[in-house]
Amino acid sequence: MNPHKYLRAYMAGLLVPTLALPVLVLAFVMERYVFGEMLPIERVMIFPMAFVPLLWGLWNMLYVASRARTHLSIGIHGAILPFLLAPLGILLTLALHFQIPGFASHIFPIVAPVGLILYYLLWKYVVHFLNGVLGIG
């Protein structure tokens, strides 16, 4: 018997992007008010502020629900998430008519593998640890 295990899984998954959010907001403020860049980032801020934490929480719920059947390691499970998040992020920027800076397309071949590795490590160590703390590890 593990009461509210999906709620706890959601909370454990939610924590990492929630901690990264203030850093992102700080970067946005610096970009706008210190360096004077006028990229309308606020138009797409909804993605890291709402979609990403929501999907991390749901993804961890899915992990808890499916691990007995799939036997997939949590690191691999987490590394699959960018394949869902990245297209969603790009779709959202297009839908909101946000002009993606030119350098972004140049750095994509670097960002993609680094992002995958980062997700793998964060899920394997941080989310796994948080799941243990909340008794669903």
Partner: protein
């Protein structure tokens, strides 16, 4: 305090402090202790260190990827 007082005090204590009942633990804790002792210490495999180093190096060499990573985190 004489012997009679001692007896009275003993009786008073017996009357007012309920017996503890079953003083044995409901289960044996020793297997749990053995399991905890034999648990492996936290270990990070070398390839995870290598991956972490790769991420660190990429961020240092290409700082332009930081906003893109933060956007998806």
């Amino acid at each position: 305090m004489n012997h009679q007082d001692d007896n009275e005090l003993r009786e008073l204590l017996k009357r007012n402090i309920p017996p503890l009942g079953n003083r044995d633990l409901p289960r044996d804790l020793w297997p749990q202790m053995l399991e905890r002792l034999s648990r492996q210490p936290f270990h990070v495999p070398w390839f995870d260190w290598a991956l972490a180093a790769l991420v660190g190096a990429a961020v240092l060499i290409f700082p332009g990827i930081i906003p893109a990573l933060l956007y998806h985190l």
